[in-house]
């Protein structure tokens, strides 16, 4: 577990320096930061307020996807909206029902926004802010007993308690919990109070403002610390041209694929790499910025067989799939036999827009009998890439 968590946090520290955590911890809000480039799109930072609110420890949250806070009553349509916002790399604001570790549900206003790399426009992180919303309590049949309004009228004090429930000092006996306790009581006799957690919940303007302010504060911290490492981030992306934009956006759809593969842009001269998987970087020893924009031939070297190269060239020219075994070189100049499959990938207009190349180190091509064969694994990456590219280029994203 440790090495995994270490790896997950490291990518964050590399971009923002090790000092960023301390600065973020000073913010009082409930928020999490995720890394869409890591397999499974895990949380890489969770604020103290957030951990307090959900009742999990830091280690239980880092490395996991934000969906672990969802439960049986979480509205699936809202979850879908979040999923689409992530896929389209857009900001979103939505009320969502989540669950604490002890299983109690609570409503929160969820605001999320992407953070872009200034250099190449790719999404680096997502920031999610969770502001708890105060719920109405109902007497079954008899309308509202203690409404949000009446609480609000009880003065700012009541709301203060609620806000503070996500700060570290106050928590377990906040109003939310009290509300929930009384709902549990209602179980025993049916004509008692019922707290219908199902009912959609609207956040107040105050809560919305609180969320936006938190997002701005977090972003200014991130921006500031990215300046320290020189790997600048920003909230707005600059515009990329069609296919390049697509290449950048594929990150999120393809992030969960562990195999080594690259996508090259078939519409640009000399077919530069527009996407390189984590597995590819591990296999070849290069870092992402060293390979993006380059043609794959830098993997070849002195002893590479020209006929294999020719074979690939021909397949690409005729837009056909092919498999070759070719001698390639890592960054450290050590060589490996690359069992390489290449396939054209069409966009939504039906035109070949990319080629995908999946590498397998022939040396490690050990095939456990009860798993997919290496060939099948390559083909499944081709399939996943085709689905992602086709759908992402369908355009006209809707409201």
């Amino acid at each position: 577990m440790e090495p995994q968590l270490g790896f997950i946090e490291k990518s964050f520290d590399l971009r923002y320096s090790d000092l960023v955590r301390e600065a973020l911890d000073e913010l009082p809000d409930c928020f999490t930061i995720t890394d869409p480039c890591i397999c499974g799109h895990p949380i890489v930072f969770a604020s103290k307020g957030f951990l307090k609110m959900v009742g999990y420890s830091k280690d239980e949250v880092i490395g996991r996807n934000g969906r672990i806070f969802q439960g049986p009553e979480t509205d699936r349509r809202s979850v879908m909206e979040i999923r689409e916002a992530i896929r389209e790399e857009k900001a979103i604001e939505i009320s969502l029902l989540n669950y604490r570790k002890d299983g109690t549900p609570f409503w929160m206003l969820f605001q999320m926004c992407p953070v872009f790399s200034k250099e190449d426009g790719r999404v680096i992180n997502f920031v999610g802010v969770q502001v708890p919303i105060l719920r109405k309590l109902r007497l079954s049949g008899n309308g509202i007993v203690r409404s949000e309004m009446s609480l609000r009228e009880a003065g700012n004090g009541a709301r203060e308690i609620l806000f503070r429930c996500c700060r570290s000092e106050v928590c377990s006996d906040s109003i939310l919990e009290l509300g929930h306790a009384s709902c549990l009581e209602s179980v025993s006799s049916n004509d008692d109070r019922e707290f219908d957690i199902n009912e959609p919940c609207e956040a107040s303007e105050l809560e919305k403002t609180k969320a936006s302010t938190a997002i701005s504060n977090i972003l200014s911290v991130l921006t500031h610390y990215s300046e320290l490492t020189g790997k600048l981030v920003c909230r707005k992306r600059y515009c990329l041209s069609g296919n390049r934009q697509l290449g950048a956006s594929l990150n999120i759809c393809l992030g969960r694929i562990k195999q080594s593969f690259v996508l090259t842009d078939a519409l640009l001269p000399d077919m530069p790499i527009v996407y390189a998987s984590e597995g590819f970087l591990k296999l070849t020893g290069y870092s992402r910025h060293e390979v993006l924009g380059r043609n794959c031939r830098f993997l070849s070297g002195t002893d590479t067989d020209p006929t294999a190269q020719f074979q690939m060239k021909e397949c690409i020219q005729y837009q056909q799939a092919c498999t070759v075994r070719i001698l390639n070189y890592r960054k450290d100049r050590t060589s490996f036999w690359n069992f390489l499959h290449i396939s054209p990938v069409r966009n939504a207009s039906g035109k070949v827009a990319f080629f995908v190349g999946i590498q397998i180190d022939d040396h490690c091509k050990n095939h456990e009998t009860n798993s997919l064969s290496p060939e099948m694994q390559q083909l499944s990456v081709v399939g996943a890439v085709k689905v992602a590219v086709r759908s992402l280029s369908m355009g006209a994203s809707t409201s």
Partner: protein, 440 residues
């Protein structure tokens, strides 16, 4: 009077066209490597065995911190890999990724695809649309006649704790495996057919076990963009051999964006809602204390519809977390001559995918002029009227309630100490009061 419509049947297998020339063939194999007794002896296929875990629907997405491993969905990879393999082997009638597709601008984002090849070379055939349940007819095309190369893998549930995969497993003839086969006229990437207990030659008719299998497939794939669909006879199923369809499309379907309003929650925790603001009226089912609760409520609803001779379509979306049910009457209207020629000319058959908002168009002009308004107009014709739906809902609720009463009674009898039955007619169980189930 018999109601029927003429339509071009979809070619789902490369062996379907030979239907007419089919004669008696001999025992040493028909030479096509099919799935009948002539060719089955010695045949092998990959086998994917999932675990019947009986837990809450799909906490699959979250990975155990214990496990370290991020989610890699095996079934997803298997299906994509095998499908791409068949594509590279040239088994499909066309490359579906070469068919142009787009999201139609508008509030719902209907999806249009131009597919000029799908219905080529086939003559329209007469389809009877006034009987939702019809007996299996051995003489017509059925999936035992497909070639083994069109079958991707066997799919079965086991009591084990772990998913198991066998790359090359003999087909157990006595156990009639469920299989996943390609549709050689795909409407999107990964278009497959799930054929429950294929050798039993079941007619197109939902039963609890088969529906649960389909639901498991959605859960196992663990990909919200992989959905399963079902068309009953009379609701544009063309082959009377029990099958579900499925494919990948990584964008939301309009139906998934439609708001809904809760009607009730069953004692098993299944929430049933009306679909709102959508041209086709219908119901959404979600939740359930166990996957089987959800599955049973939906299959009981389907069984009720088919027994009442009401054609319907089902969409299993969101990794099995949401299921949409649409009773429909388009084919009946069409047979009675009540559909405008303008709509008929588009030759769009409103089956489950079209109803869900994915329109496959055969004519370039329809594709170019596709608008939310057009899609809406077509789908509005598919829908039951508000009044009729009300009647149908009453039938459904009656059926579900009866079944639930029975189940509670049997459960109580089996284990008296464990189950405290809720009031039988209180369908609106105390949902919010149940302890929440979250992955810990």
């Amino acid at each position: 009077m018999i109601l029927s419509i003429k339509r071009v049947p979809t070619v789902v297998s490369n062996y379907q066209k030979e239907e007419a020339e089919e004669g008696a063939r001999h025992a040493t194999g028909c030479g096509r490597n099919c799935l009948r007794s002539c060719c089955l002896p010695g045949a092998k296929l990959p086998l994917y065995a999932f675990t019947k875990m009986g837990n809450v629907v799909g906490e699959k997405g979250s990975f155990d911190i214990e496990n370290k491993e991020p989610p890699v969905n095996f079934l997803d990879s298997l299906l994509l890999g095998e499908w791409e393999d068949r594509m590279q082997r040239g088994l499909f009638r066309y490359d579906v990724t070469a068919c142009e597709t787009k999201v139609i601008p508008g509030e719902y984002g209907f999806i249009a695809q131009l597919n000029e090849g799908r219905h080529l070379k086939k003559r329209p055939t007469e389809f009877r649309v006034d009987k939702v349940l019809q007996p299996f007819d051995e003489n017509k095309f059925n999936f035992t006649k497909v070639g083994q190369e069109e079958v991707l893998f066997q799919f079965e549930g086991r009591e084990d704790n772990e998913v198991q995969f066998f790359p090359n497993e003999p087909i157990d003839i006595d156990n009639s495996p469920s299989v996943v086969a390609i549709n050689v006229s795909p409407i999107e990437y990964g278009h497959v057919l799930l054929i429950p207990r294929i050798l039993e030659c079941l007619p197109q008719r939902i039963d609890r076990e088969s529906f649960l299998l389909a639901l498991y497939m959605a859960v196992e794939a663990g990909n919200p963009y992989f959905r399963l669909g079902y068309n009953s006879l009379g609701a544009f199923a063309t082959i009377n051999h029990l099958h579900f369809q499925a494919y990948y499309l990584a964008t939301p379907f309009p139906i998934e964006k439609a708001p809904s309003k809760k009607i009730t929650t069953t004692t098993g925790g299944v929430k049933i809602s009306d679909i709102l603001n959508y041209p086709v009226r219908g119901l959404v089912f979600e939740g359930g204390n166990a996957l089987e609760d959800l599955s049973n409520v939906v299959s009981d609803s389907c069984i009720c519809l088919q027994e009442n001779n009401i054609p319907y379509n089902v969409l299993i979306a969101d990794c099995g977390k949401r299921i949409f049910l649409f009773p429909q009457c388009y084919a009946e209207k069409q047979a009675l001559g009540e559909v405008s020629s303008e709509l008929l000319d588009t030759q769009v058959n409103p089956a489950v995918w079209e109803i869900s908002g994915h329109m496959v168009l055969k004519r370039k002009e329809d594709y170019e002029e596709a608008s939310e308004e057009n899609a809406w107009r077509l789908l509005a014709e598919v829908s039951l009227s508000e009044e009729r739906l009300q009647e149908v809902k009453e039938l459904i609720f009656e059926a579900i309630c009866c079944n639930m009463d029975e189940e509670i009674v049997t459960r109580v009898m089996k284990d008296e100490s464990d189950v405290t039955p809720q009031s039988h007619d209180d369908m609106d169980g105390l949902k919010g009061s149940r302890p929440a189930m979250v992955p810990a």
